[in-house]
Point group: C2
Chain length 501, copies 2
């Protein structure tokens, strides 16, 4: 049966907006991976112009009228079809209302300041000097507070920002979850062993590339629908149906860095690939559910799979062959232990799977206080360094290895950090459920490198659900309970036990 | 002094259109060079949507009003500034009037049919079967005739199409120029020697890449503003200021193919780079003057420089080192002769610099007859093969090596071919003038690989002129006479003499 015209009309406009949002993703991917340096200025203005255009279309009254007409025409559909259409328009209106709440002058101003801040942050980090960046950061905090006011909130301003990354999440709940987690992590960190790098020397980037290029297909992401490249910071992006891009970076002295970059980003892209395979793609429903859920997909392949014994039993012979090493030069046990080594270090992006969450909790606490007005920008280095001393026992020598290390705040992205640890919690909870349902899957991993049970399970339970449900409903539907830290802790404890045997 | 507001306003809108046209170029470059195959369908719709948007803006009445207001406000400027502004708006209106003449349904229909035709042409070529493509080609011819009617013409429909690629050119004049050229080429082709491939074996693509990657910088196109990649067909494109992209293709058995691809495309990109350096870029004046002039820049670096003795005296030691060969294995004289070998072959894109023009003349004659209604699509293979027999003495075995070999007609691009040979004529005429003005330049080429005199001369005389003058005025200003075939013939005769010594 043909759709009512009003539904067709609204979807046509939605798809036009989505098409141009994906154009912006192409422009951005190219600028990070391919573009010669002198193209930067012009490219920035292209990205800004496309963003302005899609924001204009999204907030235009004619689009609202189309949505209203679409809503009214849902009644013409057979009853069993109505609820999914209602949800589709509801999800869209949530997104649209956020866009509508920001005056276009504010959007331009925010873009202008973050654009300046990005370069200034990079300079300050290079010069290890927080104070040359403090005024700009203060401006970003003020703008972010203003943004929170525009969005509105019930309890605290930070919630309004958090909601942009993790729909419906509240800082107070996350605080409880994270406190619980922190309490359990402390004794784990205290006992978890550090292992030394077992590689007998440097590994050329060509050899690493040979191995890394196998990984996406091994996990289920084919070269027909994806490509792997190199960039300064690993990332993944969906450029549309049948076109997922992942990147990694290579270090001759630390070959695991590129491998885990690929596993992580492949996890993100497998999720996007699943979303693009949903019927009627693209609709507001076929988008990723939240950043926490997105991160759960990357962490699951990176940690639960990528640091597991069955995975390494399968890939180890391939790795030593690609790297031109023997099993004497790189013994399996030493490699596997190193992959699961734990060590308190200063830099988040280099942290292991145990201490990583402590880095996130520290950032969450600081940014929450900052946005809620409990601490001042000028005091940030002192606060940061004190917390590092307290949680990690480490003394920060300079701001580059301290408060200036991450890009997020310079982008005005307050409320983003917690989604990383939410992803870790979700991934452990999902993976536990999967192994209960497919107890034999580990054998297929190790014997045949066959990960299809897991991918199919994720497709069925998470990817194909898009935004049909909210995060809590999805967690309960799939795992039988709301998100909690139990499974991550149990996973980490098991891991420590395994590698210290 | 500040510009009158009306001039600012019109330029702002012009630049927005240009910005999005360049977005389409990014999308297109990526699709040819990077994109995984399953991304094609979605990407096509993105490219079409951006094209539709810029066409909409270009033909919108509000833009016309801005241009009219801008025209009126020119009088407020100091007199010495007025003429360049008048020219700018005149050039824009020429472009705009062409866009305005096509109804938007026609533009969509043309895009739809060429999109289908492209795939069908590729299949027909693969299957060596013209007749499976004949109906679609007939449709394209009819659409192109309709397009010629929309544009309007004085003498013949073909002129209207030709004008889109070579502003102001007339088929009757080109016929005279080409007849003249053909008459002179026949004896040259008869005496020009064929030399055999001197490479002692295959050359790995990695070795070729090493050498090819040096060439753009050597000619003056730095990696800060450009990059070289691989694609099925070499091409170049400007993605904006500071961002020129060139591609080539590699054959292990024919290493000259990649090298001359790079030299050719670098020539195009040097022109675009010069245009982007014009003051006030981007304006309607800072665009390339015509396809013939564009081609003159690629041919000049590919042939006049790239097949010259001084060029090879400089790069030969680098080439044999990069290729891991000795001067005994690849003797200089044999290599240089092979670079300037002449042979009648069936495929245009593989043709040498002498016979290439005969390929173009053949196509020009056929497409002119086709658009003017003097011949029928169904008779094309017979006509093509007869002409190949007459001009080349070669028997065409199948349509893939005959009438189906080129992509142009499947894109509805009738009137494009002559610009290749115009480029050859222009380039010889320009280069002759340059060597008269810089008689020592050859020494700088051979001794130091210093091509800056030539690049500066091209920048000053051609690149920095953009669209200020029409083609004939530019040719007369720079070389003292209108375009003619004398210099190409003299260049080719000199070359034959040189290599047969």
């Amino acid at each position: 049966m043909a759709l009512p015209q009003a539904l067709e009309n609204y979807r046509k406009q939605y798809r036009k907006i989505k098409l141009f949002q994906d154009v912006a993703s192409v422009l951005h991917w190219d600028s990070e991976v391919m573009m010669p340096e002198e193209g930067r200025e012009y490219r920035s203005s292209q990205i800004a112009a496309v963003a302005e255009l899609t924001h204009e279309w999204m907030t235009d009254i004619s689009f609202l009228n189309q949505i209203e007409a679409a809503k009214k025409s849902i009644g013409e559909l057979p009853e069993w079809e109505q609820s999914v259409w209602k949800r589709e328009l509801e999800v869209l209106m949530e997104e649209k209302e956020k866009a509508d709440k920001l005056p276009s002058e504010f959007v331009s101003e925010f873009a202008r300041v973050t654009n300046l801040a990005h370069a200034e942050w990079a300079t300050a980090k290079k010069e290890k000097n927080f104070h040359s960046f403090a005024n700009r950061l203060e401006e970003l905090v003020q703008l972010s507070k203003k943004q929170a006011d525009y969005f509105g909130y019930t309890t605290e301003p930070y919630d309004a920002l958090l909601d942009s990354y993790e729909k419906g999440a509240k800082a107070a709940q996350i605080q409880i979850l994270f406190s619980d987690l922190k309490k359990s992590l402390v004794p784990i960190v205290a006992t978890a062993p550090k292992f030394k790098n077992p590689f007998p020397g440097v590994v050329s980037i060509d050899k690493q590339k040979k191995f890394c290029n196998r990984l996406p297909s091994l996990l289920g992401l084919t070269t027909k629908e994806s490509r792997l490249d190199t960039s300064n910071h690993p990332f993944s992006t969906s450029l549309g149906k049948g076109d997922k891009r992942i990147t990694t970076r290579y270090s001759e002295t630390d070959p695991l860095s590129s491998i885990f970059g690929v596993l992580h980003e492949t996890g993100h892209s497998l999720y996007e690939s699943g979303l693009s395979s949903m019927p009627d793609w693209p609709t507001p429903i076929t988008e990723f559910l939240s950043l926490g859920i997105h991160e759960s997909q990357s962490r699951l392949w990176e940690n639960q799979v990528g640091r597991s014994l069955p995975f390494w039993e399968f890939v180890y012979p391939i790795l030593i062959s690609d790297f031109g090493l023997t099993d004497k030069e790189l013994p399996f046990k030493e490699l596997y232990q190193y992959i699961n080594s734990t060590e308190k270090t200063k830099i988040r992006v280099e942290a292991d799977q145990v201490t990583y969450n402590l880095h996130i909790i520290l950032r969450f606490e600081i940014e929450r206080d900052l946005i809620n007005g409990n601490i001042q920008v000028k005091d940030l280095p002192e606060i940061w360094n004190a917390k590092m001393k307290e949680s990690f026992g480490l003394s920060i020598e300079n701001d580059a290895e301290g408060v200036l290390q991450d890009i997020h705040w310079s982008m005005g992205a307050f409320g983003y950090f917690p989604t990383y640890t939410l992803g870790n919690l979700f991934s452990s909870q999902f993976f536990k459920k999967f192994t209960e349902e497919y107890p034999d899957s580990h054998n297929k991993f190790s014997a045949k490198g066959d990960f299809s049970d897991l991918l199919n399970w994720l497709r069925k339970n998470i990817h194909s659900k898009g935004k049909i449900y909210d995060v809590d409903t999805l967690m309960r539907d799939v795992t039988g309970e709301s998100a909690n830290s139990k499974y991550l802790i149990s996973y980490l404890n098991g891991k420590i036990e395994e590698v210290t045997k």
